[in-house]
Symmetry: C4
């Protein structure tokens, strides 16, 4: 499937969500008969949904609300929550920044050091809400903070960077040996992001219970423009799903593929599963919940890089309650509310009753369709009184 870009270079053709459409099978089902639960290591979760470790999306209160609805929110242990005792004050400040100076001021805000005490306190706040506590660290800071988080009651650790590999090379420091770390870690570990078959397979072999698939697809991320790096999500998920099969054949262990970023609607989430994902990690759609800490804004972890920022503070607005966004009912028809009711209906309409059977759904490559659809919707928005 490689095409020749020029005499000296070939490349695979890759596809994004907008290039893909799901094809109904010859069977239909009742939506009530569809089961969208999934297993994450020892836990069975009703909704195949993680909330992204972004400061505009997850704080302890949001994590509790998310857990009670059946999902799992991941707290960013390197964000405002662990740098500031009064995180709300900084979130107010960020929401009020004028566009021109937003990046520069956020660089300043994130220069404040992380406090051990706050790492522990935020985890405890989540646990006190009676839900699972999940939190993320970058590979460079895992060893410094993970024990504090564990002691505070952490249930799931997420090790996450823009791009992560099982083999980091450095002349200055000894990098985290993910495989050894996971072997010793008493709680399940999710790692990412990755975007290729080989890296997914290597990371699955570290013993992780899930791999985050996605390099640069998220809506608050400008990695593609700044670095030129990125794999469209449809291809990345399908590649990772193939690595999961290979890993299952080799080890007998099923490792979760979690599509991370680039999904806006219930249709995108349905496509992620139809392409092979077990669950999705979403940020932008949840930032529009009235419970989200971002006050209508959100931004990624690379936004405030001191020398090479590559994210954007995105205006998400407020579209409804978290419950309305995750499980409905919807009073809008653009696909951004009742996301998992949509997944359930999509599966029923196509005749599938479990996440794992829906991963085998037929899909088509249909780019014109999607752009046409979007263009149209925009025209309607403009055209209507």
């Amino acid at each position: 499937m490689e095409v020749e870009i020029g005499r000296g270079k070939k490349g695979r053709r890759a596809y994004g969500f907008d290039d893909i459409a799901i094809v109904p099978s010859r069977r239909t089902r009742d939506a009530e008969d569809v089961d969208i639960s999934w297993k994450l290591g020892p836990f069975t979760l009703p909704l195949p949904c993680l909330a992204s470790a972004m400061d505009g999306v997850v704080d302890p209160a949001f994590a509790i609300a998310m857990g009670k609805l059946g999902g799992l929110a991941v707290l960013n242990l390197e964000g405002v929550q662990t740098r500031y005792d009064n995180a709300a004050e900084q979130l107010d400040r960020i929401a009020a920044l004028p566009k021109e100076t937003a990046t520069r001021t956020m660089q300043d805000i994130y220069r404040e050091p992380i406090k051990d005490e706050l790492v522990a306190r935020r985890i405890k706040e989540i646990k006190d809400g009676g839900v699972l506590a999940a939190a993320s660290l970058t590979p460079q800071r895992v060893e410094q903070y993970y024990q504090i988080a564990l002691d505070a009651g952490l249930d799931v650790l997420v090790i996450q960077g823009t791009v992560i590999s099982a083999e980091h090379v450095s002349s200055k420091v000894t990098p985290l040996n993910i495989k050894e770390f996971i072997a010793d870690c008493p709680v399940p570990v999710i790692v990412g992001g990755v975007a290729s078959y080989a890296t997914t397979l290597h990371l699955m072999r570290t013993g992780a219970i899930g791999v985050l698939v996605g390099v640069g697809p998220g809506h608050a991320c400008t990695t593609r423009g700044v670095l030129g790096i990125g794999v469209p999500q449809a291809t990345a998920i399908a590649d990772a799903a193939a690595a999961r099969i290979q890993h299952l054949l080799e080890t007998g262990t099923y490792c979760n593929v979690i599509a991370d970023g680039g999904m806006r609607t219930g249709g995108d989430i349905s496509k992620a599963v139809a392409l092979g994902a077990d669950a999705v990690m979403i940020g932008s759609p949840l930032a529009a919940a009235s419970e989200a800490p971002g006050r209508g804004y959100h931004w990624g972890m690379a936004t405030f890089h001191p020398e090479l920022p590559r994210g954007t503070r995105v205006k998400a607005g407020v579209k409804g309650t978290l419950k309305e966004i995750l499980a409905g009912p919807a009073h809008e028809n653009d696909g951004t509310l009742n996301l998992f009711g949509a997944l359930r209906t999509s599966m029923a309409t196509c005749g599938y009753d479990t996440i794992q059977s829906f991963q085998k759904a037929e899909v088509m490559v249909a780019p014109a369709l999607m752009t046409e659809g979007k263009k149209l919707q925009k025209e309607q928005d403009v055209g209507m009184g």
Copy 2:
């Protein structure tokens, strides 16, 4: 023709109307010599055109006007006409809704129950106009209402859902057995929508006289965004046409392929036929007739779903009389008036004289052309004083 989306997934490349252009043959004809009539079971209809079962498009008066012009309008038996004695009042209300609350209020309006008496009365109103009466029901409600409709004089029954299959699975209710139902039904039955070779073939085997082809292509439908499901119409029609041939070989019976949704202009209708359709079902273009009940708006059956609305109230405006839209004369040049004069001229220009011969016309895949054309038209609209 499959492409590899990623290691774990392949998909066919699919095409929409905008990707397709019809190629003239080496012969031309007089438009007067072209015959665009078609047979729908026992009926021969002058225009290969059905009006969609949408509340903004078809009411009894519109159905009569449509029938007199040679087409066939399908009344939605689950819409405002059968829920409200004074349907006009609700249509006025919908047209006046502000955009922000339109979906929510329509959800309320459609909570009113369907009345048996109104089902019968609306059918009779159409019959009193001296034309064929066609009406639609969803599979879930066929058994409850079809006998009332038949008793009132129904000529053609349309069984229609977003996606329909010959094999619906439910743990709670016994689904309609379409094959058994049709065998016993005294009037011809059309079923849909479908979007694949296999499902079309299965539905043709139920004894239906026509299959509606189209999942999510219509202009008032956001199924693609909300559910991720959809097959571009050019591919869907060509697949269904292949199923029709297979069914003809197996049974000796010719079952009609009716392209449903996604057509805006005479060019789109011509392409639908050139790709294999026997007739088209259109909503948006007819909603712009001065006779349409929607007062310049229209919306689909999924718009008012109580928990997962996936349609939009679209502003259609008023472009002319129904006669001008169907048969001209046109005083605009954007392709939305004199739709079937355009089909006739397209067939003549390409050298074909019947619907069935035009189904064999040469087509090209020519995406750039189409977008360029549209872009240009927009620029001209802006550029002119």
Copy 3:
């Protein structure tokens, strides 16, 4: 090169000018050494350029100016010039029409009958200017008017319809037998438009000295939207060029391929030649000449069809004198001035010195490039003070 659109239908992938880029060879030349002249039957013309038979482009005065600059203008013998003694008055009226009623009023204006006397007078006016006189008729009217035109001094006859074929079928009238007509016609005949190998070859066999290639590509034409018919010009020209070779092999006669429509810039004209054209017929770019009769507007012959109009009155503006548009100098840099200086420079830059050698230039399929370029230019237009 066919792709499967669906199970029942295949189609060739077709390309337009925007999909194509010319590739420099390993040689470069001086622009002064490039010869862009061509032969049209007995005539050698300095510029490979015909002006379209459109009322907003060609009147007798324009035809004289065009001839003096080395090109050949084609007068529409069925337009305002032959319907009205005082054509200028009607052209003033058209230019002043408000957008909303333009099509309807033009339908009225063109209901006025053609006068024999005016057909003769307009040809004589051109001949009195000391240049070649070329004029166009539709196949239906050739027999009625050609003798009048010949008697008045016509040098080149153009037989032109939206789509023309060597085999028109009619139940009511005996169509023009183009082959017999050309055999008896004392002046050279050009026919068109065509858009396929087979039809081009058939028309070449009628004895025409040139074939107009283009169905629906022009900027004042909405044939694609209204009828769904159209072949992107790059593919149409290359197909016609292949027919020219076949015809040359069969008969020893070289028949000209004239690209008709869809060209806006010197780059588009260069591509038409690189794809195989001997000359181009252009309308929109010349309508922007201060000498053009359209007062800054132009429109095609199908714009005023009484029942199915399929053209648009396009605002062309006034960009410069005809000499500046054809041969420079240019004081704008968007490619719409000095069109044939651009062709000369393009040929020199790529290393070719005659039209026929440039027809063999290497081209690439490079769609992204072109849209990017255009998008950019638009942004610059907006961005500059």
Copy 4:
């Protein structure tokens, strides 16, 4: 990899930067361990970056600033700096031109003859700054001015035209024999632009130390629109890289491939290297430096062609200091600041530590991704308060 455009013509499918994405490998690195230096003949340069020979980008002061930061600026020896003693006055004038008359007035400004004395003075001004002096001449003027430039201390000569070939054909003058010229020239020579394997190979055989790859891709260039000529940069660079290997095999000499034009962001520069470039030549991104002589504008060498201008005066604005643009820190996140910090991070993220190893990085063809990303960014710009 050729596609059939029509029966008479085939062409390769070509790709631009926007069609390409870099794929992370299974290894990651520290950005501090990455070496982005390169060798240009006898010189080792810390930044793989040349500044384009454009009057809005390079004057002697800018060349000194650029050299001190590790790059190499190329002075245009046929621009305002060598035509006017007081070049600043003309640059002020150009920046103040209204859009309507900009091209025409620039044609006048560039009619002023080049002065030998100024050629020498500008080179000396650069040398007095303590950096390497590089300057460009068109092939037609090399013999007239190169000795003056050499005598003034020139270190690197750039011979540059829109398209250059090793074999220029002229009936009037004896063209520059590049091969003989380079053999005798005491300083290293770079030549360009080229856009094909064959021409690159021919030019490498002339003894040049570097070849500029790019015909018409730059942001201030309308060659594609005006002439129809152009090769998308991804394909052009990959073709040139293949020629470099062939030349290395034939001669044992490594000749540099310098991607010239079409790059806006750190992502584009990273892609250029991943496709095979040793270094990049950029204009637009540097024109936005506060040190750039264009006062927020820039324009190419073909903008002021007396008869066929094919460039545009582009508004670049002022985005930061030259140091911020080249090496950061960035306080914006759109990829236009810290361009070479971005290259370094891109290489580290993908696991590569030298320019030559990064040239072997895996890339994908992923068009949808890129347009989506750009569209999104625009929406965000609009959407934010």
